[in-house]
Amino acid sequence: MNTRKVALLLVVLLSLVLALPAQAQDEPVIKPLPCEEPGKLTMWVWDEAWAAIIGDSIEAWKAEYCPGAEVDLQVQPWGQYWDLLKTNAAGGELPDVFNMSQPFFFFYADNDVVLDLQPYWDEFGVDTSIWGSGLVGPYRWGEAGDLYAAPVNWDTIAIFYNKDLFDAASLAYPAADWTWDDFAEYAAALTDPEAGVWGAAVYAEYQAGYPNWIAATGETPVVDAARTDCTLDNPGSLEALNFLKGLLDAGYMPTVSEAGGASPDDAFNLFASGKLAMVAGGSWKLPTALAELTFNWDIVQLPKNPETGRSRSIVHAVGYVASARTANPDLAANLILYLASDEGQVFFAEGGAVAPANPSPAIQQMWIDSFGQTDVNIQAFVDATVDSQGVTVFDEIWDVMNTELVVKIFDLGMSVEDAVAETCVVINAELP
């Protein structure tokens, strides 16, 4: 072949190869599209801070992609959100777009209240697997696994620890690959009954508590994904619960009464008061921690189970869904697309409090950077999204496994086997 032609070919090939990665980096993961026909939408959220961020997002959407559209964004108090949703659904007044939480999704999907967004994902060219099964798995419905929601954010769990207490006990800080045994040792060493300090508190509630430890054994916590069985009496669950109970009985963890309540927030308050060396906390605690903690602290991923070598966090994502009876399904889907897109999620990423669900690395980095200069290992939360456990529980069994099981084992002194047996009776009665 002609050497000049070969050289030319090589140059072309080389430039193509070099150009591709650059292009992949600039290409947004989810692209918004202009709406076909502007109209009116009502939208519900349950947090005023989120409403401010989403409001800005919507303004940008209207300016860029849907001029002439109107969105009536309403905030309903969190405590009554689900009651109001049911009341409005009963009265035929459901908002067009609204926030959804994974444990509640099943009821609305089962009763055809929410709009199947899969046709829209297909039309928009969005591959719904980009979000990861932890974020979107619980929002899938039907035999084909249609995705009914777009995730807004993600939350994972990690351990917050008090560096000053570690220093005082001459202990090295936990490494990212530490195990349950290391954790137990630290908890023992850091407990100081005279000073009224406990080593750890990590069992409270479903999302931040014991199910994370069950998940590390490879067991799906509480209810299996197919919703057929209460898994609390399976070996993995018993192993995790007994491990935690052992720490409690040894005095390394406070009881629910000593913590002041069954919520991880109560444990976190103990941590903030310097009475706890290690606490399990969600990524949503970062702003509070950064603002209020008065000692040196850091974050490390949950410890790994010694046998499976895995450390798993429950992951949860709030979603945007649309009402199946909305008068403007296309418009609703278009808005949801925007809110899930890179452009739409920038507002969340910059806001900081909420980790955005959009999988683009740029967006995730934006979120980490939004906290400013800190020495704190925020990356631990992002790392926890890999090998995470999605939510499989639902509203009807919420209380019995969220707080009642915890109180029975970690306050009323019931044995794990007994408490789990009682809980499974209730859960099995509620399974379809």
């Binding site: 049911k86 009763n111 002041g260």
Partner: protein
């Protein structure tokens, strides 16, 4: 001039149904006219929803899909439902724990605060405060006070060995703090009604009693209590109706531990029906519970209304 003689026969018969004499008929019409606005308003805005709710009790409805008729299935289920029985027992226990104490304490406080003591207005405001204090604040303070070992109550009870008692978690104990908070919250309300009742006792009666040589306690027993009986009746009836429906205290006191209590130990009938409706989407069943609850309250109130003639003294004959 007899107005009725000019009216057609049917109207005359309708009118005569109102009463035997023209005067009584006019009074009856006045009575009906006076009660009309409130009664019609109540029946429209509350009677209709109540009837709708009761009619749901013979249906199965999850609020989304159309309801379908199931006859008496919900009521059959009630009979064998352990959780309903537990809610019923809890409610009855709460009534026993709250109503007598609440009424007696309110009466006592009202009487004491009716005396011309200095600082009386300030004290009355203090007793009224719980009625207007934020329930969030009440929940935080009472939960904290009851915390084992660290809370004020526990530290006070330590000498008698009750310092570690888990008031809000132990199934057998949780009703006590709930009853205490319920009394705490309602005392001011009952006190106000008692105070109003105490004002309406004519002073001449006390003067006459003093002239007759009655001491303080006798005046209380023979003037105050009987003249106060319509008010006492009112307070008792309202207190029982309220206690049957206790919900808020259960909600706020168990929110931070186990909502409804461990194993449903703090669940009352209203709380139970709320959970069945909004958590389990069983609005038909919840309506059946509401109907049974209503029947219970109605029976107890009807009983109270019938026996009132034995102890309640009305200054004026009715009507």
């Amino acid at each position: 001039m007899n107005p009725e003689s000019r009216l057609p026969a049917l109207a005359a018969r309708a009118l005569s149904w109102l009463g035997p004499t023209p005067l009584s008929r006019r009074k009856a019409l006045w009575g009906l006219a006076l009660i009309a606005p409130n009664t019609l308003g109540l029946f429209f805005f509350f009677g209709i929803p109540v009837l709708m709710a009761f009619s749901t009790s013979v249906q199965e409805w999850n609020a989304i899909k159309p309801p379908h008729f199931v006859g008496l299935d919900n009521f059959e289920r009630l009979i064998s439902d352990d959780k309903f029985a537990q809610a019923l027992t809890n409610t009855l226990k709460l009534i026993g724990l709250t109503v007598p104490l609440e009424v007696l304490l309110a009466l006592g406080v009202a009487v004491l605060l009716n005396l011309p003591l200095r600082g009386r207005n300030l004290l009355r405001t203090a007793y009224f405060l719980p009625v207007v204090t934020s329930t969030v604040a009440a929940s935080v303070v009472w939960t904290s006070i009851l915390q084992p070992r660290y809370g004020i109550v526990s530290r006070l009870l330590e000498p008698v060995g009750l310092g570690e008692t888990k008031w809000l978690v132990e199934p057998g104990l949780v009703l006590i703090p709930i009853a205490a908070v319920a009394i705490w919250q309602r005392l001011g309300f009952d006190m106000i009604i008692f105070l109003a009742g105490l004002q309406s006792i004519p002073g001449v009666l006390y003067e006459a009693a003093v002239i007759d040589g009655a001491g303080r306690w006798e005046r209380f027993r023979h003037v105050t209590l009987p003249m106060l009986s319509p008010t006492t009746f009112l307070v008792m009836v309202l207190a029982i109706i309220n206690a049957f429906q206790i919900f808020d205290q259960v909600y706020i006191m168990t929110l931070r531990t186990v909502p409804g209590g461990v194993g449903g130990s703090a669940t009352t009938l209203t709380y139970y029906l709320y959970r069945r409706a909004f958590t389990h989407s069983e609005f038909g069943y919840a309506s059946a519970i509401a109907l049974v609850l209503f029947a219970l309250i109605l029976a107890v109130t009807a009983f109270q209304l019938t026996v009132q003639r034995y102890w309640v003294y009305y200054e004026s004959e009715e009507g």
